[in-house]
């Protein structure tokens, strides 16, 4: 178990480091995901240490994974919009909203 605890803290630190030093938006998002995974790992180790095996942290991590994918999706959508704004030639599909022609 100790090795997984150490892994969790190393992953936490890596995520922290990436979050604060990376400049690229996507890489910061990946760092944040690594950070969250480290916390999940700690929860699962706690569940494993308990006797009998504790299902509650497992359920918490399952909930957390779904939440993480939702927030990642929202963040990715934001990153894409921000990147499009900075790119020299925006894609034509993004500049016309549906229904804008009847405005």
């Amino acid at each position: 178990m100790l090795i997984y605890l150490a892994l969790a803290s190393v992953l936490f630190v890596i995520g922290l480091h990436g979050l604060f030093t990376a400049r690229n938006l996507l890489r910061r998002l990946l760092s944040l995901n690594v950070l969250t995974t480290a916390v999940f790992l700690l929860l699962v180790v706690i569940a494993r240490k308990a006797t009998p095996l504790d299902p509650v942290p497992h359920a918490m991590v399952l909930t957390g994974i779904v939440i993480a994918v939702s927030t990642t999706a929202v963040a990715l959508a934001l990153v894409e919009r921000i990147a499009l704004r900075h790119s020299p030639e925006p894609e034509p599909s993004a500049s016309t909203r549906p229904g804008e022609e009847d405005a």
Partner: protein, 317 residues
């Protein structure tokens, strides 16, 4: 597994640390994303080692699968840039090695030590004791859909909310034909999609008495939808305001909310299913939640509001 097990864990930890480092520091973005996908894959193996097969299923399906597809697809829109070369990253960081590494080691060590001291009493016994009244045999499913059903309701809510938020940011990028015109892709999609559906149904059925259940099932089904989309199928979710898709997308959340309120009206608390019908109620919730998760993952993957169907009017509020 004894010593071999220790070696296995150590190798796994080394690989995970290396991949995490790559995912956050790699010179080019594609390498970072691939590292992250492999990171998710090996995390699933770690969950298996930690006797958490439910999480392994979810991580394999959602963490590595759906997130990986999302990230890879985002790459083609984020104009790929050449990063700093690896040597330069190494050299630029050399200064910080002296300063940061000791601090970081201390922090990691302290965290590990603190976590190692945890007595971890756990709620295993309490949960097992309550399992009989929960209506399912598998403890994790019981926690998710009965003991802590409110969390699950709000979690599906977050997914619905994510779909609404992503759609609100603008239209989906034009459904471009696959950049590599290949006859294999549509065929692959047609062949694999039924398998995805079959596996999803199987996982859903397993959920009541073994690891599995709505979440991995929904994720697998959603991944199947994404596969069809990638293989060149037109997205079948249309943004018609009065069409069925928006209602179907929010159905899982609505049904759970409805179940919670019915429980309250039946004289109990919010989400209190009468013990007699608990197992049926949970089955219904699982099926709708699974379907809903599948469609929502697909909706989020569209990365914007899908284009309105050609035959509906564009009336707006």
């Amino acid at each position: 597994m004894g010593l071999v097990g220790q070696v296995f864990d150590a190798l796994l930890a080394i690989a995970l640390v290396w991949l995490a480092w790559q995912a956050t520091r790699a010179a080019d973005l594609f390498r970072a994303v691939v590292s992250f996908i492999v990171f998710g894959l090996l995390m699933a193996v770690a969950w298996v080692r930690l006797e958490a097969p439910d999480i392994a299923l979810a991580e394999a399906a959602i963490g590595a699968g759906a997130t990986g597809a999302l990230l890879l697809s985002a790459l083609d829109r984020l104009a790929p840039r050449r990063g700093r070369s690896w040597a330069r990253v190494w050299r630029a960081d050399a200064r910080t090695w002296v300063l940061w590494v000791p601090a970081v080691m201390a922090l990691a060590g302290a965290l590990t030590a603190a976590a190692w001291q945890l007595p971890a009493p756990g709620l295993g016994a309490v949960a097992t004791g309550a399992l009989e009244q929960s209506g399912v045999d598998h403890a994790v499913t019981a926690v998710l859909l009965n003991f802590r059903a409110l969390d699950t309701l709000l979690e599906i809510g977050v997914l619905v909310l994510a779909a609404v938020a992503v759609w609100s940011m603008g239209p989906a990028p034009a459904a471009s034909a696959p950049v590599m015109p290949s006859p294999t892709l549509p065929m692959l999609g047609r062949t694999l999609f039924p398998v995805f559906v079959l596996v999803a149904a199987y996982l859903l059925w397993r959920g009541s008495h073994a690891p599995g259940g709505a979440f991995p099932a929904g994720a697998v089904l959603g991944a199947g939808g994404i596969l069809m989309l990638l293989a060149g199928a037109q997205p079948w979710i249309r943004s018609a305001e009065h069409g069925p898709w928006r209602a179907i997308l929010s159905a899982g959340f609505a049904v759970m909310l409805f179940a919670a309120i019915v429980g309250a009206l039946a004289g109990g608390a919010f989400f209190e299913y009468p013990a007699a019908i608990a197992s049926h109620a949970i089955l219904v919730l699982e099926v709708t939640a699974g379907m809903s998760i599948a469609l929502l993952l697909f909706a989020v993957y569209l990365r914007g509001e899908p284009h309105p169907a050609a035959d509906t009017d564009r009336q707006r509020c």
